[in-house]
């Protein structure tokens, strides 16, 4: 005896954002049996975590889980996704939204076999956004090796140039379409989940920490790219000024976070991220000295605590409770001196290091530009406030609050159910 095989109720769900939270919401809802649309602004799915080298505390590659999720998408006709897509307008209400999507041109069509001839032919080099400008990419490029969909993109910056024509001529499969235009489409959905994620806080705004002034000060997300095997240095962590192996590294915690002038909240992940980074450094440089300047080590839960305790065993990792007040560069050796006051002893600490990593926090994407949906409410800092009673629209993952990947995935799984509830109630 088996009951009706269709999903219990009808209606579609739109998930805005194809990062780990958006993918989770979309997949979990689709595997119940609902039709789901994913709208992603990048040319690939995977979002912020695709840029990470490893997850804490397991030190496993994010692409491992992404690969499974991509396979779940491939195997599930309930999910349709749009890349290079943005929501322009939403009208209607819970149970009945009309969404206008803008689909930006990729200039490469479905004929693309991923052979790479266009990139070989292309001469223009542009700073790689994926790698935070640490290297350059061709004007025709695959966003990264594991990119899904595995299809090249032509940068709008080379459209109209000879270079674009070269790409077109190099393609044997008529996959390069330089005449491609942005399109607008309308979709009707019953509920929407905004998993629009986060951006690293702009370190250049933290004036006293010298980012942008001194080359040997980088951010934690840049370090992720340096450590990644598919990154700009193929996994080598080198000092930007001279490509020297750093012998000493300082991590500046709460770079922007827990600071009324920048991000007044705690960004949740940066303590664990820096501890993880200490393992990146240690794997490459067994003798390097690592200094971590912090206010509180926020390593909640047995797993994170264990990770922290393990790193404390390392005699060359020094934890200093104190907020970094300023940084100075030495003209001769480009070392950076980090100045902080030890909160416990009151003693002023000056530590010269080869490389400084700013543990910058996360800012919700909606902090800069509100999302195109009038009914959404936000905290002062741009996190979406969920109205579970009203339903219809929800923020998931780091669009809702700063969180690690585990919590984001829990949250995103729950939001799939909230989205379904909206459809059921109709």
């Amino acid at each position: 005896m088996t009951e009706d095989k269709s999903a219990p109720f009808s209606g579609s769900i739109m998930v805005v954002g194809g990062g780990i939270s958006g993918l989770t919401t979309a997949l979990e809802a689709a595997e119940v049996g609902y039709e789901v649309f994913i709208v992603e602004k990048n040319p690939y799915l995977g979002g912020r975590v695709a840029q990470l080298n490893q997850y804490f505390p397991k030190l496993c590659p994010p692409t491992c889980g992404l690969e499974i999720n991509f396979r779940r998408i491939k195997d599930n006709p309930n999910i349709k996704f749009f890349t290079l897509a943005e929501v322009e307008k939403v009208s209607g209400g819970p149970g009945n939204y009309s969404v206008t999507l803008k689909l930006n041109p990729r200039y490469v069509n479905e004929n693309c076999t991923g052979c790479g001839a266009c990139a070989e032919a292309c001469q223009t080099e542009l700073p790689s956004e994926f790698n935070f400008g640490l290297n350059k990419t061709k004007g025709a490029y695959l966003p990264h090796e594991m990119a899904f969909p595995s299809r090249y993109v032509i940068s709008p910056q080379i459209i109209g140039t000879e270079d674009a024509k070269r790409c077109q001529e190099a393609c044997q499969y008529n996959a390069v379409d330089l005449e491609m235009k942005a399109k607008t489409i309308e979709l009707n959905v019953g509920s929407m989940v905004w998993a629009t994620g986060w951006e690293p806080y702009d370190a250049a705004k933290i004036d006293n920490l010298g980012f942008g002034r001194y080359p040997n000060i980088i951010t934690n997300m840049m370090l992720e790219r340096l450590a990644a095997p598919n990154g700009p240095t193929k996994g080598q962590i080198l000092r930007p000024s001279d490509d020297k192996a750093p012998e000493s590294i300082a991590f500046v915690q709460c770079a922007g976070s827990r600071d009324e002038n920048h991000l007044p909240y705690c960004s949740y992940i940066c303590c664990m991220a820096s501890l993880k980074h200490a393992t990146y450094i240690r794997a490459r440089y067994p003798e390097a000295k690592i200094y971590i300047f912090y206010i509180d080590m926020r390593t909640p839960g047995y797993r994170y605590e264990k990770f922290y305790q393990n790193i404390k065993e390392d005699k060359n990792v020094f934890f200093i409770k104190g907020k970094v007040a300023e940084v100075q560069e030495s003209a001769d050796n480009r070392q950076i001196t980090v100045v902080a006051e030890n909160a416990v002893t009151g003693e002023k600490i000056r530590q010269a290091v080869d490389l400084v990593v700013l543990a910058t926090g996360m800012q919700p994407t909606a902090a800069k530009n509100k999302l195109p949906a009038g009914e959404l409410k936000y905290t002062e800092d741009g996190f979406i406030i969920n109205d579970m009673e009203r339903g219809g629209m929800f923020g998931a993952g780091c669009a809702n609050k700063p969180a690690d990947v585990v919590s984001s995935n829990q949250n995103a799984t729950g939001m799939a159910l909230k989205a379904i509830q909206t459809l059921v109630r109709r």
């Binding site: 088996t2 076999t113 090796e145 799984t413 059921v424 109630r425």
Partner: protein, 778 residues
Amino acid sequence: MDKKYGVYICTGCGIGDALDIKSLSDIAADEGLSCQTHPFLCSQEGVALLKSDISEKGVNTLMIAACSRRVNYDVFRFDGCIVDRINIREGVVWSHGRSEFPALTEEEKADEDKFDRVQMMAEDYLRMGMARTEKVKLPEPYQLENFTKKILVIGGGVTGMSAALDAAKCGYEVTIVEKEAQLGGNVAEWRRQLPVAAPYETLIPTVVDGKIKAVEAAANITVKTETEVARIAGEPGNFTVTLKNVGEKTEFDVPFPLPPEMKVDEKGKELDVDALLVKYKAYNEGKKDILQFDPNGEKFGAVVLAAGWRPYEAKDGEFAHLGLGQTPDVVTNYQFEQIAAKGKIVRPSDGKEAKSVVFVQSPGSGDDADFAYTGAVTSMVALKQAKYVCDDYADGKAYVFYQHMRTPGLSENFYKSMQQTPGIFLTKGEVTGVSKNGSTLAVAASNTLLGENIQVNADMVVLATGMVPVTVDDPVVNLAYRQGPGFRDNAIFNGYADSNFICFPYETQRTGIYAAGAIRRSMTVEESVEDATGAALKAIQCIESVNRGVAVHPRSGDMTFPDFFFQRCTQCKRCTEECPFGALDDDEKGTPKPNPARCRRCGTCMGACPERIIGFADYNVDSIGSMVKSIKVPSADEYSDPPFRILGLVCENDALPALDIAALNKLSYSADVRLIPVRCLGSVNVIWIKDALSQGMDGVFLLGCKHGDDYQCHFVKGSELASIRMKKIGEALQSLALENERVAQFEVAIDEYDKLPKMINDFVEMVEGLGPNPFKGF
């Protein structure tokens, strides 16, 4: 189905330039199969060709020799057809560039002793595809005979009620079982709770009353108080659950497996099967066997485990330096909450107003760790309870000594709000001692922000002990599963019923049963409510997947399930013991009883079975074995210097994508290896390895995920079990006078694509060093 085969070779993406397509086509033609080539098979015209063959010629079994199955998955999907993707783009041409592996010159072609390694590789892969398609069938979904969509929620606290309400809102019937006389759990006994919504600044009344009212008002929620689970038997979609009064003994109480010390005799030797059975029965006397279903049991489709936590109980003298057990005025945070819930904060010793209270966050003794089982919750609880002191008394003073104030994310707002509360003093510091000082307590602390060594006089001291998941004491779910009544890996999670996967937080290794709330991590009310929603989703998703006859994550939607040929079963129990998901139960004789709805389709049982009687419609011992046998092993009769043949069995989840990425980067590896993707290394049956070696292949390697406590295997134990089996195969090899080294297993993460070529080449080189397999040519 009557198979009608079609072979299609794409010559695009450099395939046609690198390979002799005519010779490749002849492989299929020689077997009498229709073979067509196309310069761009994934184009509209190419796909139109395939579609017309399907509709016009009745082709229903397609072999597409082109790119990896990881791409163009949608283009080459044809309903009702078997599609085999023969990976000659990433697997052959891109990973074996002609600059490194030159094609034969016309002159060399005339010389029969010369061979083209890359061409041989492509031809073998085509043969392997042909061999496989002959042996596989289209899957048909598994249908349960009885099926229910009802959901059981264990635990009637905030988490359990939330999960029930969330599922009920979607139209599902839910039963909550609660061991206490009323709903509400721990939270019901609190004065106030932490904020659950922006701006996260002030304490709020607990959400319990609202939840209880909503549960009582919900027509499709049944509440059973003073009730616990005696056993859960069966499988998702059709669990048979026996409920009982708390503490009652029933014949359907779940039997427990023998503890390890009872499985051996006085000398430490493992008992034989019959002796074990006698002992097991004695150990579980009065309890029905797991395979005997309670005729009066209730049927459920899925379960949410939300049994929560209990306060940490300090061992005798454990926190004596902090005065616990020495004076009644030193209490735990749990006890303090009970006092606060009753009214104004008063001292337990004499009932006097407690206007000065010290909160200790870390047990001290030299390190900065919090108390056990705390997470971030206890930092926030200390702030909450500090606020009680100041709420109760205008001149109240609360001192919080912490090593790390753990208020992550937006809970920082609450911390800031408490920092600004007059009367609350917060400082880093290690509390070194608590002693009596007249009628008050003297609290000594060092390394504080207020001075090196300070002393505070207090009416009370509160220790921030943690929340112990109840799974530490008891399996709670009481599964009538042969592998045992509880979740399997809680030991590596400190007793929590947690998931090992960052990406997949609801994995419990027990399909259809999902944990939520403080049972899987110390969580605030806000976090628990959110977690409950996720667990409710997973329960619903499992029910709907079972209804469709498909697997849940990670092989979501897979319609295949393991099929057993029982006539040949020797009751060795390996499948029952090794299944990572406890999908199999065996009877007294040891004959396995499959529970397909518990199964995740990894094939670990198939790999474990020495009789090779387990298989899936599209993946079985014969289908892979036939692929192995179809590989041509060149011998000295054919060539004066024949190339080696090495078999690689490759995990399709991580190693296979890594190989694709290596190919995309034009990284090359030996052209003498032949790779076969497997669902999981756990599914690798050693017969494939023996077959490969006995047909003269020179070596076999397995490529899979990292194992150990931080395992990356999506099927939990697959790579670990494979490594155990590989160790055992060494003995078999020696008996064949083959070197152990000819079989190896390598761990690779998906992002280590750059290391793969060396890994493979080193192995090939090592095997070459051993010399050719002596069985070659026999």
